[in-house]
């Protein structure tokens, strides 16, 4: 049986490409639209992009570290 078109590797490759394109566009749009921030940091170029990427990485890694301490088997309380 043939796989759903969405899960075919070919589609996924395509999706990655489209996604990277969209990412590029959103950053580049800032060239045309000026962002007036309240603080200086939020007016830096591509602030949303790098800040989002960075903080997400920190959160995921932080969670991973915390998880090493607080994770228990899911039958722990039974």
């Amino acid at each position: 049986m043939e796989k759903h078109w969405l899960v075919r590797p070919k589609t996924i490759r395509l999706l990655w490409i489209v996604m990277l394109g969209v990412l590029a566009v959103t950053v580049l749009l800032q060239l045309g639209i000026e962002i007036h921030g309240e603080f200086h940091i939020d007016e830096t170029f591509g602030f949303g992009a790098w800040y989002g990427l960075g903080t997400c990485a920190v959160m995921v890694i932080g969670a991973k570290i915390l998880g090493a301490v607080i994770k228990r088997k899911d039958t722990y309380y039974d």
Partner: protein, 562 residues
């Protein structure tokens, strides 16, 4: 006459009636009553103010007060009751439906309460109703989680009660109005409110109990308790700075724990904490815009979280599975569920054109307006984190990820209808925010759709998405739970009580004069001397008796002559 009725009573009366009517009437009833409630909220022509008051327990209570914030919350609660009832129409047992209506009705009772006592009364009934909803999960886990849930809420309730008594005693007034957290009664009130809001450290009841409810049950649960807490904080403690920190903690707590979680509905439960955190921060900031934002976010949140849980509930209902590690690839056979779930996910992530975008932005913007840079940066990071833990994680692991081999169809019509209804609401509010803005307590001057805002938000969210997929290997699902404060009452407290109870038995035996053996030996020794053959009861020979008489006489004489 009817206009003085507390609107919550309609649903509560429904709750009482539901067990006694046949299935057809019941279905009609549960769909009609929320609509009737809406009519009572908006159709009486009362704009603002207390409608009537009555003597109660030595005070004059006023159970019905029309005020913009309350009407906003009551409105969304009614919508939620309708959507939830529609979703639950075929699956819920009468007892569950009754509990849910009791729950929803008392939540509306809280937001219409004109005084602290009425508020508290409905507050506690809400706890009872919601506990019953959890218990209708009907598993052993639901029983225990429900009991823990009840205990936490009764704890919060009595803390609140003590605070209220202290407050009423100090001020002599039972009016529910803005308070300053400046003395212990108000601190206790605040603590009581925050416990229901799911603030840390007593937050784990949300992920503990909610996911044990039935698929439909959790849809109800997600809406009322935490949001009534938001309502009372909004009215009672706007601008209380501590709430900013409490809120921020909730936000990141929700994100981190959701990231570690495997159970799809527990992920969404943690995300409730996270979302309520945003509202609490807004209340803490306390400007008109922030408060508007908090109220609007509560409104939007109820809809999209309901939607997400309907989606997750549909999956659970159709597959019986709730762990991400067991799910995946369901988009193929459950397209409507998946689509609606994704819309909900986008809304919670505050994607442009969804309801979350227009509400959460207000909170963020008000932080910026107040030049709270750290708060703003954290909120922004949190927005990214929301997309990470709920916006992508939930749909990805449930509907895509890997092929679990499950091919369940979409759920029955009423569930689909409920999801579509809520998905439409998410989008409608996102595209036409004006009606919602009109409901807000203060006039709104905020324009969400500016180019800069849209572009900034898109950057943030899309790159979060990138981070998600890049870091996917780090987020492999494991069959685990995460320890939380609830360890204290799930593991430590029972052990302590068992220990005390064991020692108590010994203690109480001891109090009664020792163990049975000790009592027995005392009685034996008594019997030795006093028993029929004992020294003190024996029949002595006459001579010996006379001897004793003489001893006494001699003693008497010696006494007398000395």
């Amino acid at each position: 006459m009817i206009s003085g009725l507390p609107p919550g009573l309609i649903l509560i009366a429904g709750a009482v009636a539901i067990p006694f009517v046949g299935p057809t009437i019941r279905k009609g009833l549960v769909l009609a009553l929320p609509v009737l409630t809406l009519a009572l909220i908006w159709g009486t022509g009362i704009d603002a103010g207390t409608v009537w008051s009555a003597p109660f327990m030595g005070y004059a209570v006023s159970p019905v007060r029309y005020a913009p914030t309350g009407m906003l919350f009551a409105t969304v609660f009614s919508i939620m009751a309708f959507g939830g009832a529609l979703f639950a129409l075929r699956s819920a047992r009468p007892s569950e439906m009754a509990a849910a209506f009791l729950y929803a009705g008392s939540a509306i009772g809280v937001v219409f309460a004109g005084d602290l006592i009425t508020l508290f009364v409905f507050w506690e009934i809400m706890a009872i109703g919601s506990t019953m909803v959890v218990w209708n999960g009907s598993s052993d886990a639901a029983r225990r989680a429900g009991l823990r849930y009840a205990l936490i809420h009764f704890f919060g309730g009595i803390v609140l009660m003590i605070g209220l008594i202290g407050h009423i005693e100090a001020t002599g007034s039972i009016t529910f109005d803005v308070m300053q957290a400046d003395a212990w009664p108000r601190w206790l009130i605040l603590a009581g409110f925050l416990i229901n809001a799911g603030a840390w450290p007593l937050s784990s009841w949300i992920p503990d109990a909610y996911p044990e409810a039935s698929p439909a049950g959790m849809v109800f649960l997600s809406a009322f308790t935490t949001k009534t807490a938001v309502f009372v904080l909004l009215v009672g403690f706007p601008g209380t700075q501590a709430l900013i920190y409490v809120g921020l903690f909730m936000i990141f707590y929700g994100i981190i724990y959701a990231l570690l979680e495997n159970d799809m509905r527990r992920i969404l439960a943690y995300s409730i904490v996270n979302q309520v955190g945003f509202m609490v921060v807004g209340i803490g900031i306390g400007t008109e815009m922030a408060l508007n934002g908090a109220a609007a976010h509560a409104f939007a949140h109820i809809i999209y979280k309901g939607l997400l849980l309907m989606s997750a509930g549909s999956v659970l209902y159709m597959t019986g599975k709730r762990k991400c590690s067991d799910l995946g690839g369901l988009f193929q056979s459950m397209p409507i569920t998946a689509t609606c779930g994704i819309i909900g996910a986008l809304a919670i992530s505050a994607f442009p054109l969804t309801s979350g975008f227009i509400s959460k932005s207000m909170i963020n913007q008000s932080a910026a307006d107040q030049h709270m840079m750290v708060v703003w940066l954290l909120l922004t990071a949190a927005s990214a984190g929301v997309f990470l833990h709920a916006g992508i994680k939930f749909p990805w692991f449930v509907f895509f990820q890997k092929d679990s081999g499950l091919r369940p169809p979409d759920p029955p019509w009423n569930m689909r209808a409920a999801m579509i209804f809520f998905a439409a609401l998410c989008l409608l509010i996102g595209v036409f925010p004006q009606p919602l803005y009109a409901l807000l307590p203060a006039p709104v001057a905020f324009v969400p759709y500016t180019g800069a805002h849209v572009v900034g938000q898109l950057q943030l969210l899309l790159f979060s998405g990138l981070a998600f997929f890049l870091l996917l290997p780090l987020m492999k699902r494991t069959l685990t739970v995460s320890l939380d404060v609830d360890w204290l009452y799930r593991r430590a407290a029972p052990a302590v009580i068992a220990w005390i109870a064991r020692d108590l038995r010994e203690l109480s035996d001891g109090v009664l004069g020792g163990t049975r053996a000790q009592v027995g030996s005392i009685i034996d020794s008594m019997a030795h001397y006093h028993g029929p053959a004992g020294l003190l009861a024996r029949t002595l020979p006459t001579g010996r008796t006379v001897f004793w008489v003489l001893v006494i006489l001699a003693a008497f004489l010696v006494f007398n002559f000395s």
